[in-house]
Symmetry: C4
Subunit: 368 residues, 4 copies
């Protein structure tokens, strides 16, 4: 192969070797799945050739990606770990499912359906998925019990309906499995209407099932809402804690105060050259720089603020119109202090209040 | 044009120039959209002429409104800002969409359908919309991840169903797009019933999809509920804070106490001549006047209470039957202190308790 | 009329004069509405005579009840107040609707349908309705904005569907009103299936509508859940406060502590001769008697405990098997202190702990 | 019978005598219910013999189990208590329902349907069911009122629809009962589509019903969510309290601090030989051993830690990579302290912080 091509490949390999999804991968998943969908649609018959081509390209890409990762891991001696990890398994499936099917002589149109498994590659990239999983794990107890209740209602109801409806409409309620299908469709309040009780008693039972449907729904949601509220607080605390203790401004405080402050701050990750504050807008929070740098665009001059500095405090000290544009110059992590919490914080830690006040005054003088 | 007409227009112009919706605008939106709806209904054929007339009137109004605002903004030199603002864009669409369509030779009946876009004008007027937006933004992380899970379930399920059902009912499950339609209808528990699996396996998959539907629902709601709870607290605090610090009664307190009090109060905006307390009813809260004035209708005399005064405290000091009618004399902002919080407040700040007690006694004496 | 009958009527009158529903009234509502339902069912034709009779009886009862209340209120000079109150209006409707209809020559079968309005009489008797109303009022802001969003989605979606589907299925999507019907059915995820988009684009729009349906649902629930949580706390506090301050055991505490304690207690209203504690069961709470009396069924003797006394404390002091049956001797109001809160309470107010401990010891000695 | 068989039975009897479900019982329930389902399905006709056999086996098992328990309870003199307990009733039903039906000459295929009642045996085994019940009881007030509102809407709506639709579609809206069926199907947003209004007014009413459906849903969920949040906190506290006070490490603290700590800990029951910490993973919590024993797998040696000891603290003291595998050696109860709460705890109780720090240092030295 020609040099440039090789180097390009090397570069590409380096990029894809890391565990996270690359942009290319996302594109490949999207294109691949859509092509698969089109392939099954007769209206797209004339484009079949193209679609097939695209599918093959995606497949090759995924196989290639997989091999590179295997090599990468092997070098680091983490091969077995990788292959037993969920990411590794997903990669393997993505690379092998379709070819295997084709090799085993499955009819192509069917074999390509397996390319839908490529969507699994997106999972690790989902934001806050860990959070969701934790909620489901911690609340599993009650969730399971709701599920069991759900199943019991379904069984009891379907047998009742079968008994009540079998003679009137043998084709739809002719067996308990059929009645089970009706029960699920009803208890989830989906209600296709393909199987519907007609006898008065049958309808009474159905009504009860629907109402329990609401109940199941309610419990389910109530449990998840509860778990989620707790999890959100926890998650934010963990994200924020590290940064807070790094900001000299807070480092002075004792651990109790820091824990206190941490509950009030929200972390915000920003790419470079992002506008944080737009001049003239209403402001209701101030920012502390945990990492990175921002640039305040004052009339005449531009001021850089680095780690540990804060800005936007004017908005919380009476004058709530933003006085200048502020934007990040590099990837930055900011800690946002909301007006509400600012009040409380100032009340509990007057010393912080003074520091901020003093700094604010100094700047005000400077900029006049 | 005749003088009066011009002055009327001028007045009208002044009214509509402001960014907020005028009553006329709301009427116009209502009438316009309803007419559009009627226009498409054959039962309203004989009234076609009238309907068309109404539509034209509304259109003219919106064009006029738009022009006035453009002029208004131009004068203030905020033209570009306005035109790039959401409100400006909505106004422009409302004024130009239909005419453009007609000019481009779209069949009238179709062109007028665009007048449905007029409803967008209502958006800025929606109460608490800002609040909703904030919730969606802050919780976007988990919400997106639920959405992604939602999409993955849909894709995997629809391919599975397509594979299981395509031979049995090729007309409904003949392609993955068709199966996708089924999956959305099912996972949202809408269940039209136009596409329904019939094979045992297909129904099993469907059942799983429906149950995940409940799960998605639950997560979604849980997330929103969590975000909303936090947002409500914050919103109320912001609304109340300013007013509280203005009330001399509280001004005495330190910032800590004020933050504390603010969490207990609820702001209430009232128009003039509104009855706040009806004599003889059960009372479970007292009021502080942050702005405006109220009139206490005592036997024999009427007493005015201005900014900073409080009333209704008797209800919280044992005697919980309201002793007199109290109504606003001008637009007023009241701070409501609930019985529950009153207890806590009194406990934490005995000095406040004394002030209120003393005042109450004084009034009791006076009115006997 | 004969004496006994008159006195009976007088008694009955006295009973029904009070504003609250009497048992008779509940029965009348139930019987009346059911009869009305039966009246419309051809399967009940042969029983028509009986059903009609029942309806007339109920009607007479409600008219009678109304007249008595009018007289009662007139005597107390609260006639106008009553007639303008919701209860008064409902009574009037219940008494006059059907007769009026019959007089106005409405066909009987239709006129009797109005007797469904009798169900409104149940409203004042619903437990915790006031609570629900408060939530709806306090959260009205966000709820309305969700409703507005709901309506906007419906309008935009239905016009879009009308445009996309009108040519393909003119009979169902032939006009925007028809499309509106589809939109409501879809956005509420009801999905009758009588009107279903078939074009690819139409289905895409529909999918978006369904997903927004989930969103609307989620927001709605989130808002209500938030409001409800706050309301529940408040409600319980109000119910409990009065009782707590009446219990000498707590009266000793300062207001701060009382507010504190109130947050931990739960009020429980019990009829006479109710078993509060069953011997041998697991116990995880203790009780304070705010009003009424209980009887502890000790081996050999029965001990009465009156207002201000407490019992069941053993369960919280290590030995968590209930040692004796305890039941109310008269209508009583008990304050329940949960194990969890007991721990916290004891921690914060050691003096209370000692009192309880001492008393517990004393009893233990006594009963051995 | 032969000796081994008898002893086996005796053993089995001893196992099943206890109140809780045995594994065998779960299997029997599963097999029994599935067989019953199959029995009604004509596709399983050829296997009828087998299915019938299985059903008989299960039935015999349940009868046997019931008899054993009766004998067991009789011996302990708790016979009447057992027979009046829910578990006892369920056992009796499971054992007697089918035989009774068969004896009474019910057609076998129908009689066997009663075997669905066997699922009730699972109820006592459901995790967190007690919790759910408590929520439903405590929130019963509002839940009932929502239910009443639900019923009122249904009655009013169905009469309205009956009035509006009876002439247009007499076969579906021909009577109020039919309309009631429609109302339930609609208000629960199930929407079968078998009964659908077609008149404009009828559809308007239907739209309102659907929207109230969302409202009912929302209230319901809101109530349950609220109750559930409270219940979860309470439940966790109760589970944890006992263990905490047993850990010498905390015993030193006063009751206030213990209550405080208890709110931060989460109990975790683990079987023997379970991996608690995997080396190399991210750690965000530490563990206290309330009961049982764990083994720390250090390079070279294995260290046992018994009751009262703690581990995993390194993760909370800066170095958040787990340094060694830790697994239980016997059934153990661990108290989990989350990073978040650790921070707060350390802040409030510096003495604890020192103890942990010292121990951590000691171990660090030891293991180097």
């Amino acid at each position: 192969m020609s040099k440039p091509l090789i180097s390009a490949l090397a570069q590409f390999a380096a990029a894809t070797a890391g565990r996270n999804m690359t942009k290319t991968a996302y594109v490949a998943v999207g294109v691949g799945v859509l092509s698969m969908v089109l392939l099954t649609d007769n209206r797209a018959n004339e484009a079949r050739g193209w679609v097939n081509g695209l599918l093959w390209v995606c497949l090759v890409y995924f196989v290639f990606e997989w091999l590179i990762r295997l090599r990468h891991m092997a070098r680091q001696g983490r091969l077995s770990l990788y292959m037993s990890s969920s990411a590794g398994i997903v990669d393997a499936i993505g690379a092998l499912a379709v070819p295997l099917a084709l090799v085993l002589g499955v009819e192509p149109k069917t074999a390509w359906l397996l390319s839908v498994l490529w969507v699994l590659k997106v999972v690790p990239g989902i934001p806050g998925l860990r959070q969701l999983r934790r909620v489901l794990v911690l609340e599993s107890g009650p969730l399971v019990s709701v599920l069991v209740i759900f199943l019991m209602v379904i069984f009891l109801a379907s047998v009742a309906e079968y008994f009540l409806e079998r003679d009137v409409q043998p084709q739809t309620f002719g067996s308990v499995p059929a009645a089970l299908w009706w029960a699920v469709v009803t208890l989830t309040t989906t209600g296709y209407g393909d199987v519907v009780p007609v006898t008065p008693l049958g309808r009474l039972v159905a009504a009860l099932v629907m109402i329990s449907g609401l109940g199941v729904f309610g419990l389910w949601t109530g449990i998840l809402a509860t778990g989620f509220a707790a999890e959100t607080r926890r998650d934010n605390f963990l994200k924020t804690w590290e940064s807070v203790s790094k900001v000299p401004f807070f480092a002075a405080l004792g651990p109790a105060a820091i824990a206190d402050v941490t509950h009030m701050l929200r972390t915000m990750e920003l790419p470079a050259r992002t506008l944080v504050i737009r001049k003239g807008t209403q402001g209701d929070c101030m920012y502390f720089i945990a990492a990175g740098e921002v640039e305040v665009d004052l009339p005449g001059k531009k001021v850089q603020l680095g780690e540990g500095a804060f800005f936007g405090e004017m908005a919380l000290l009476g004058n709530n119109k933003r006085g200048a544009n502020v934007s990040t110059t590099k990837v930055s992590r900011l800690l946002v202090l909301d007006l509400v919490d600012f009040r409380v914080l100032m009340a509990r830690h007057p010393d912080l209040a003074e520091t901020i006040d003093a700094e604010a005054k100094r700047r005000a003088l400077e900029n006049t």
